[in-house]
Subunit: 343 residues, 2 copies
Amino acid sequence: MPRSPTGHRVTMIDIAEAAGVSKSTVSLVLQGSPLVKADTRDKVLNAIDTLGYVYNRGAASLRNARTNLVGMVINDLANPFFAELAVGIERVFQTAGYIPFIANTAESPTRQAEVLRSMREHDIAGLILCPARGTRQGDLDAIITGGLPLVLAMRRVAGVKASSVTPDNFRGARRATEYLLELGHRRIAFIGGYADMTAQTERCGGYRAALEAAGLPVDGTMVIEGPTTRETGAAAIEQLLSLGAPPTAALCFNDVVALGANDALRRRGLATGADFSLVGFDDIREARHMWPPLTTVAVDTLSLGEKAAHAMLRMIHGDSRRDDYLGDVTLMMRDSAGHPKAV
Amino acid sequence: MPRSPTGHRVTMIDIAEAAGVSKSTVSLVLQGSPLVKADTRDKVLNAIDTLGYVYNRGAASLRNARTNLVGMVINDLANPFFAELAVGIERVFQTAGYIPFIANTAESPTRQAEVLRSMREHDIAGLILCPARGTRQGDLDAIITGGLPLVLAMRRVAGVKASSVTPDNFRGARRATEYLLELGHRRIAFIGGYADMTAQTERCGGYRAALEAAGLPVDGTMVIEGPTTRETGAAAIEQLLSLGAPPTAALCFNDVVALGANDALRRRGLATGADFSLVGFDDIREARHMWPPLTTVAVDTLSLGEKAAHAMLRMIHGDSRRDDYLGDVTLMMRDSAGHPKAV
DNA sequence: ACCTGAATTTGGAACGTTCCAAACGATAGT
DNA sequence: ACTATCGTTTGGAACGTTCCAAATTCAGGT
């Protein structure tokens, strides 16, 4: 913090003295009030930048609530998907005059609790949360009862009554699975995520639904849980290919998992799309750049982010209606999925 | 913010009343002071969570300065490289008890100014900045003279005396260029970035140095500036291949640019690594997953992030020495660079 | 019962802002 | 000259915390 010659923080009072006015006048200037005479304003403005004054928003909000801070708490910033989501959200807030601050929980509920607490202590206007795996209702009800506007993004939390913005996971996964079935696959695996994440149950549910509709059994050994990382994808491939009757295709929980699976296939000398088919979820930018380009379920990340931001703004402006937005999904058919080798 | 039954924010005074003690005692409890008797502490703690009290850090820092907030301002969060950097930084702060807040400037100095102002107004303990392109000394000297601990990451700003953490851009680029020369290339392009970014002048400088050392001329039409995006990479390839004597290889400013260039080559039906060689910079995770795996200069992102965080912590703890850390670089030879086709 | 020192607890000023009610200065109308 | 009015400016209380000095309680001698 900038300090005056006498060693303490430069405050409005210092400015007032330097400009020969009262602190009230300085306050008015800072708020852009039309009441102050033009040349008084100039004197004040001058003093402000010769002294290097920095507005103390903490002190201000002590008197008058309202902040322009919005928190975005993200479970995995290293996943490009969430980075893209964050960018969509930011764009909206920026034009609305809010400053979004991002924090990463790296999928740790403990970390999430810390971050959430810190954000509330700093008196944010609202919170967009992509909950870490393992988040329970109890972790959030302090926020709910506190009346802080909350939008859940990508994942919901059982029992928590908050607005949410998610892609249509069920339909996306069912469509992807149907596509694999159309290609002729009969043994299809599902890789990644944990059954305690809403996104996983929905995606895995769509997968099961498609299989059942086709009259195929759902084989438990074909559903492999794990963190949504490359490593999970790679390990799952190893595990699946050592099965007695290995699958010929897999639907991955998301593109990052698919990336890992693709690596493992290549290491084994198998051609993705020909020897083994892979479908991802999210359609991150990398999906079309990897080799082969990944067939995946696109979720329109940017507009999902914008929807979340708009929902937030509505709540900040006093509209307390809950709203669950289900984003459109579309299957992007690229080259990582093809007909099974041995039909 | 949580409100008491009477409608106002729940404060320490409410807690004090509910617990039958004074506000001072509540304050002591909140600070974990050993002075308070165990059962008083319990009474207070109880009141706190039945009333849903939220600590008001703004009010607190009004009295006693010190914050546990650190700002991280990043010029392009959509570039996985910076996301990885952020993760490295976070890891350190987390264990040190600081909460890093991330903001994205999307390479816009205007946006950066807003974000910087907001962060200072919220009284952060320090700032790690990856400056947006076009940041000038004047944009930062309010921060410097204000005495806020500042670490510049990845890019420096001419004239700004602040600690910095950057990879050894010059050496990395020279090494990469030498490698292309060893492979037999004689016409080598440099793609991406602008000459007003320190990182670009250093990388491009390394490229020139290698060419000159080999007795080759530096051809201005072979150096293509542009934002560090995929689009730049793609457009550059189009432009370069339409030259009278097109290059046979290119060093890209970073991996994202290389990704774009690789796409453009594929669209043209050229095989990267055989028909045209590409070298990137950064070694983002995607680099080894794209096709073909990208030859690139690895910068050890994680430890760069950790170095930045440690430099920051030192400054926060009062050590005001400037420190310029130059991170090690190593060339990762993968498949996107090979011998030129027509030697 | 009384004194002493240690262990706890407390009132109040201070931090930097906002906002209200009131004051001020200039101008114009009588 | 006096008042009303308008446009500006201002003092001071309040916001929720911390921290100091002082007050209170407690236990153990005597």
